[in-house]
Symmetry: C2
Subunit: 393 residues, 2 copies
């Protein structure tokens, strides 16, 4: 993995601005080391073997897993699931991610579909009170109770929640469901190496490879800090939007996850860089025009993958063409006044993507501190919730 925050920055950043933020390095490293919510720096993953046991048992009686969770209890697992699921071949053991919507069409069709298939529910919520999660879980539990005898239902529910308190923990204690915990010192968007993500992911990837990569990624502090300084400096120059750019369609959810990570971390006190994403080459024929010649508020982070499966078209290695297009776009955007950061990955594997994810957790935390805000809370999410409560009770 190679992070390049300099090649395409010369004409945009001046050294004084960069120096100003670079000088805060010791202070910020110390802040993170002393933070209450820094459990993701060195998470305990000793529960992994237990996860694999429960997975094997689920595989023995179900044809599909329904994950019920939203936000930080959804996007990490969903991202990796999409990265490692074929585009056209039917998945032997599909994972359905529910609980992220109140759409009646979606829910109706989901319930109809689940009538026809043996499934297990993994409900994930720290508090147990998130409305989407609670409503979806309630509907799925009723369906399980119609489909199976009481002692069987128990096998089809796995709960991931707070270690001691909350409505879901109470239910686990009352009903004897299998359960995993979400630790107190790891917030949702930093929770990749908790059971919230590793249990669902154990059905589709080698989670031990992911963990290995992650542990390499949390060591990239210097690279992560340079990246944070670069983006913080660009913000001061009016580049208030970061565009994450991929050339692979199956990265869509991974970039949605980065948007959550950065948007929730930085969007406070009227501050923050707005994260957006584009999938090339699709979006070169869409928002490409805006990036090239529109309002100059954007800088970009490109992901470049060195090794991909070989596909020969008309005697050309298609990935080589894709890489040449990517370099051409970077060059065209830089000439057009758009600063570009480039992150090179060897390949798209659980290990590479685990490494990249841990790297981004560091970048998000450092960036929060560089904006002088708490990188680990999300007070604004409560504002609409309070309004819903007032209207719905």
């Amino acid at each position: 993995m190679k992070i390049d925050v300099s090649t395409y920055m010369d004409k945009f950043l001046d050294s004084k601005l960069v120096e100003k933020y670079s000088n805060r390095k010791d202070e910020i490293f110390q802040k993170l080391n002393q933070a209450n919510m820094n459990g993701w720096l060195n998470p305990d993953v000793s529960f992994v073997d237990q996860i694999l046991e429960v997975r094997d048992e689920v595989l023995s009686h179900s044809k599909c897993l329904v994950v019920v969770g939203i936000g930080g209890s959804f996007l990490g697992a969903k991202s990796f699931y999409e990265l490692f699921t074929p585009y056209f071949k039917k998945n032997d053991f599909p994972i359905i991610f529910a609980g992220t919507t109140l759409s009646s069409t979606y829910m109706k069709e989901l319930l109809e579909y689940l009538e026809t298939i043996d499934f297990t529910v993994n409900v994930i919520s720290k508090s147990g009170t998130t409305r989407e999660t609670a409503l979806t879980y309630s509907a799925l539990k009723k369906l399980l109770e119609r489909k199976y005898r009481p002692e069987e239902v128990k096998k089809h529910i796995i709960v991931t929640t707070d270690p001691v308190k909350g409505t879901l923990r109470d239910e686990v204690n009352r009903e004897g469901y299998r359960s995993f915990i979400i630790p107190d010192n790891i917030g949702g968007r930093y929770s990749l190496l908790t059971a919230a993500h590793l249990f669902p992911l154990s059905f589709c990837i080698d989670v031990k490879e992911l963990i290995l990569g992650y542990k390499e990624g949390v060591c990239l502090q210097d690279d992560a800090f340079s990246y944070s300084v670069c983006r913080r400096s660009l913000f001061d120059l009016g580049k208030v939007v970061e565009n994450f750019v991929t050339y692979e369609n199956n990265w869509y959810y991974y970039l949605e996850w980065l948007k959550q990570l950065f948007g929730e971390t930085e969007g406070k006190d009227g501050k923050g860089i707005l994260p957006i994403s584009m999938i090339h080459t699709r979006d070169l024929h869409s928002l490409g025009q805006f990036v090239q010649e529109g309002n100059k508020i954007i800088y970009e982070t490109f992901f470049k993958i060195n090794n991909m499966p070989i596909c020969d078209i008309d005697g050309k290695d298609l990935h080589k063409v894709n890489l040449i297009v990517e370099d051409s776009v970077i060059s065209a955007h830089v000439s057009g006044g758009v600063p570009c950061i480039v992150i090179e990955l060897d390949d798209i594997s659980p290990r590479s993507m685990g490494r990249l994810s841990a790297f981004f957790f560091l970048v998000a935390a450092y960036s929060g501190y560089l904006f002088d805000i708490n990188p680990f809370d999300q007070p604004g999410v409560e504002v609409y919730k309070a309004e819903v409560k007032r209207r719905l009770g």
Copy 2:
């Protein structure tokens, strides 16, 4: 359909600013009426019966349609296909949209999948030279030539292109393929009512309903102009990002299409509003924090659907809950300093969505003129293409 650009605007917009842009109404209506590229205002759809004939013939020998196109030859059909395709039930006659990527993984898996199924290709390109389209079409044509005898191959290729010139038109003339035309006076992003979209859509919706709605939508000039004036005024107040918000997951591509429409129309001469999109309630637990409390550069357009299928959960009509959450979010965002526009639709049907699409074409055209740019070109897309050509030949 109801467009509300006033209820939540009082605290943001002052009447002088709105008046300044409103005064340009006559001038701008005249400009559009005299524009070369305004063919979408009253498109000739007399080819529809021919489309239905070709569709029936394709249905008789194929199990799937592969649409090869990008940008304006892709997003309209893809949006409507996604809106009207069930979430879980397998589609009897799937449509695959290829030609939007140079990903070797995607292409490899696509070609492997198409080995196993009888398919027809609809290649769509005005010039015939767009790289992604040309490469994908070339690979699919070779596959067809391996699968079928020469006289059979002819039945499996339908070309949508320029009426007289270009490499694809030449091929049609040489090989005798069936073909449809893309008229000269309708640009890609305004081309919903051309064969580029109506032919693929004839496989999944009643295109006559879509046309009916569209013809109602192009009459909404006054509403469209008010919307354009509102967003142009918000831009002057530093709201440089428009967030299109849906509460239905299957709107993802429809919002991508709006992003193309506005991004390509306005993003010129260093100007333009950056269009982004969010899917609620999913993104309330992601970028919701940023919108509520982050950098105040965003205003929003919410889509509200009055009638949806009924799904009862715990004695509650789920769509009613969804609507209450939507109202709560609008209220919370407005209090947080985020101006909101609300568009109410009766339902999600080909007619409603046709109407909405034509309305947005008007909004995009008027907005372009309010920014004093040509709403119908996209010169910036050529910049990276030239760079690719330099490197690849």
